[in-house]
C-alpha cells in the first residue's frame, strides 16, 4: 500500500491527478463555452441565414450592418436609460435597508429575511404579479385603485408606448427582486467594520450623518464598488422581465428592447440570422468585457493568496 502511494506522489502521477480533478471541468468549458464563442466569431463573418455552416463570407459586413442598424443602437440606448434608473435606485435602496437592518435592536433577523425573500422569486413570477395585479392597466389593478382614491384616472401602465410608465413597472419589479440580495452584501460589509472605529468616532463626538459620511461609507468602498459593478452587469443582461412584462401573444413592441431582447429576436426570431446575431453578440461581449476590465480588479481575480 505504502509503495503504491509513494509512487503516486511522483510528478507524473501528480499530473495525472491534476488531469482527473480539473480535466472534466476544462473539457466542458471548452465544449460549451469556448467552442460556441469561437464558432460564433466565425459565423459573424458570414451570411448565415438558417444555417450554422455557411459558405458566403462577408468579412466585416455583419458588423457594419449591426452598427448601422438603428434598432441595435437603440437597444444600447435602452440599456443606458435602464441602467440610469436601476443602478442608483437599487444601490440607495439596498444600502438604506442594510443600514436600517444593521442598527435594528430587535427583530433584526425577521426584517433581514423579509427583505431578502424576493430573491427566491423568479423574474417570471414577479412580472406576473406586476403585470396582472399591481400594474394591471385596467381599473381593478392595485395601483389604479390607489390612484382612484385620489380621483386620478386609471393608467394603462404597460400599453402606453411613450415613457415613463412602462419604465416604472420594469424598474420597480427588478428593485423588489434585487434589493435584498445587495442588502446582504452591504450587511456583510458593515459587519466587517471594526466596532472600535465607531467608539473612536463617538468619543470625538461624531453622530448621525457625520458617522455615515466620514466613517461608514468610506469603509464600505470595496463593497460599494462590487455592488455597482454587479448592478451594471446584471442590467446589461436584463431580459426576463422585459420579455415577460412587454411581450404578448408572441409579439414584442418595437420600443423598450434592451440588447439581449434585441439579440433574441434578431438571431432566433423568424429570420434565424446567425451571422448578424453573432456579430451583435460579439459586440456586446466586447462592450461588457471592457466595462468589467475598466473597473479594475474585477472580483479580485488572479490573486493567489497562498
Amino acid at each position: 500500500m505504502s509503495t503504491v502511494t509513494t509512487r503516486l506522489r511522483g510528478r507524473h502521477d501528480r499530473n495525472l491527478w491534476f488531469l482527473i480533478f480539473v480535466g472534466p471541468f476544462v473539457l466542458g468549458l471548452v465544449v460549451f463555452v469556448y467552442i460556441p464563442i469561437l464558432w460564433s466569431i466565425w459565423l459573424s463573418f458570414f451570411d448565415a441565414h438558417n444555417t450554422v455552416t455557411p459558405a458566403n463570407f462577408v468579412g466585416l459586413g455583419n458588423y457594419v450592418d449591426m452598427l448601422a442598424d438603428s434598432a441595435f443602437r437603440s437597444s444600447l440606448i435602452t440599456f443606458v436609460v435602464f441602467a440610469l434608473f436601476i443602478v442608483p435606485t437599487t444601490f440607495v435602496a439596498s444600502l438604506g435597508l442594510a443600514l436600517l437592518v444593521n442598527r435594528a435592536r430587535f427583530a433584526k433577523t425577521f426584517f433581514r429575511s423579509v427583505f431578502f425573500l424576493p430573491t427566491a422569486c423568479s423574474y417570471v413570477v414577479a412580472s406576473l404579479i406586476w403585470k396582472l395585479s399591481i400594474f394591471s392597466g385596467v381599473r381593478f389593478g392595485l395601483m389604479n385603485t390607489v390612484l382612484g382614491w385620489f380621483g386620478i384616472e386609471p393608467i394603462a401602465w404597460l400599453s402606453v408606448t411613450q415613457p415613463p410608465w412602462y419604465w416604472l413597472v420594469i424598474v420597480t419589479a427588478r428593485m423588489w427582486l434585487q434589493a435584498g440580495f445587495y442588502m446582504i452584501l452591504f450587511l456583510a460589509g458593515l459587519q466587517r467594520i471594526a466596532p472600535s472605529l465607531y467608539e473612536a468616532a463617538a468619543i470625538d463626538g461624531a453622530t448621525g450623518w457625520k458617522v455615515l459620511r466620514f466613517l461608514t461609507l468610506p469603509q464600505l468602498r470595496a463593497t460599494s464598488t462590487a455592488v455597482l459593478l454587479l448592478l451594471l452587469i446584471n442590467a446589461f443582461q436584463a431580459f426576463d422581465e422585459f420579455y415577460n412584462l412587454l411581450s404578448s401573444s408572441g409579439q414584442y413592441p418595437p420600443y423598450a428592447r434592451p440588447p439581449l431582447v434585441y439579440l433574441y429576436y434578431a438571431a432566433l426570431g423568424q429570420g434565424q440570422d446567425f451571422g448578424h446575431g453573432s456579430a451583435g453578440a460579439v459586440i456586446l461581449t466586447l462592450l461588457i468585457a471592457l466595462v468589467a476590465l475598466g473597473q479594475g480588479r474585477f472580483l479580485g481575480l488572479g490573486r493567489r493568496e497562498d
Binding site: S2, S40, L43, L100, A120, V125, I184, R304, E305
Partner: protein
C-alpha cells in the same frame, strides 16, 4: 439636561427607523400576498371593480383544477424543473469542487495558465453567449431535451473559482494528517476535505439550485416543445398568451415559488453565506 434630550432624540430616531422598516416590510411582502390572494380567489373577485384585500371565499379547488387542466402541463413542467435543478446542483458541486481542489492543491506546471483560461470566461456574461450556445446545442440535436437543458449549465467557471479560493484557505494540517496515512489526493478530497467543508458546499448548493430553478433565457431558447418546458417557461407562456385564466395562473406561480420560499425559511443561513461569497470574494 442635555443628556435627557439626547436620549429622547434617540428614542424618536428608533421609532422612525422601525416605522420605515415596518412600512418597507409590508411593501416587500405585498406581492407575495397578492400572489396567494389571487391564486385562491375567483376570477370575479380579481376583476371586481372594487378592490378587496380579502377574496370573498377561498377557492382551494383552483389547485385541483390547475393540475387537471389538460392545456397546462403543470405537473410535467414542475418535474422537469426539479430534475434540472437537482442534477445541475449535484453536477456543479462535483465538477467544480474537484476542479477547484485540483487548482488549489495539486502542483502542476501549467496550473496558473489553466486558471487564467478558466477565469477569462468570467469576463463574458453567460447570457450574451446564448446565441452561439444555441447554435452548438441545436447542432448536437439536443433541442427540447433534458440533456440540452442540463449539460451546458454544468460547467460554471464562477463556482470553480469560488471553490478554488475556498480550498486555498482550507487548513493544510488536516490534509497532511491524512497524507501520513498514505491517502492519495482522491481519498484526501473525499474523506477529509469534503466532510469538513459542508457549510461551504451547502452555500454553493443553495445558490446553484435557486439559479437553476429560476433560469429563464436558456430554457426559453432551447426548449420550445411543451414536453421540455420548465415551470418558468410554462408560466411565461400563459402570462404572455392572449387569453388568461387569472386564478389558475396565480396559483401556478404560487406553487412555482413554494420550493424556494421553503428553502429560504429553513436554509437561509447557507443561502446568505452563498450570496456573500458570490457577491464579493475576499
Amino acid at each position: 439636561m442635555a443628556v435627557i434630550q439626547r436620549s429622547r432624540a434617540d428614542k424618536t430616531g428608533i421609532v422612525i427607523r422601525y416605522v420605515v422598516l415596518a412600512v418597507g416590510a409590508l411593501l416587500f411582502l405585498l406581492p407575495f400576498y397578492l400572489l396567494v390572494r389571487n391564486g385562491l380567489a375567483t376570477e370575479q373577485d380579481i376583476t371586481s371593480p372594487s378592490w378587496k384585500l380579502f377574496p370573498s371565499s377561498l377557492q382551494w379547488s383552483n389547485i385541483a383544477e390547475l393540475f387537471n387542466n389538460p392545456a397546462v402541463p403543470m405537473l410535467r413542467s414542475l418535474i422537469n424543473s426539479l430534475v434540472i435543478a437537482v442534477v445541475q446542483t449535484v453536477g456543479v458541486l462535483v465538477i467544480s469542487g474537484l476542479a477547484g481542489y485540483g487548482l488549489a492543491r495539486i502542483p502542476f506546471r501549467y496550473a496558473n495558465a489553466v486558471f487564467y483560461f478558466i477565469v477569462a470566461t468570467l469576463l463574458i456574461p453567460a447570457a450574451v453567449t446564448f446565441v452561439p450556445s444555441f447554435v452548438l446545442v441545436s447542432s448536437l440535436g439536443w433541442v427540447s431535451t433534458l440533456r440540452g437543458l442540463i449539460i451546458p449549465g454544468l460547467f460554471q467557471a464562477f463556482a470553480t473559482f469560488l471553490f478554488r479560493q475556498y480550498f486555498l484557505n482550507f487548513p493544510r494540517e488536516l490534509e497532511e494528517a491524512a497524507a501520513l496515512d498514505g491517502t492519495a489526493y482522491w481519498g484526501t478530497f473525499w474523506r477529509i476535505v469534503v466532510p469538513n467543508s459542508k457549510g461551504f458546499i451547502a452555500a454553493i448548493a443553495t445558490i446553484t439550485f435557486i439559479g437553476s430553478w429560476n433560469a429563464f433565457l436558456w430554457p426559453l431558447v432551447i426548449a420550445p416543445d411543451q414536453s421540455a418546458w420548465t415551470v418558468q417557461i410554462a408560466l411565461s407562456t400563459f402570462l404572455t398568451a392572449q387569453t388568461i385564466d387569472l386564478p389558475q395562473l396565480f396559483i401556478a406561480a404560487t406553487i412555482a415559488i413554494l420550493p424556494l420560499v421553503v428553502m429560504f425559511v429553513f436554509l437561509q443561513r447557507w443561502i446568505v453565506a452563498g450570496v456573500e461569497r458570490s457577491g464579493i470574494s475576499e
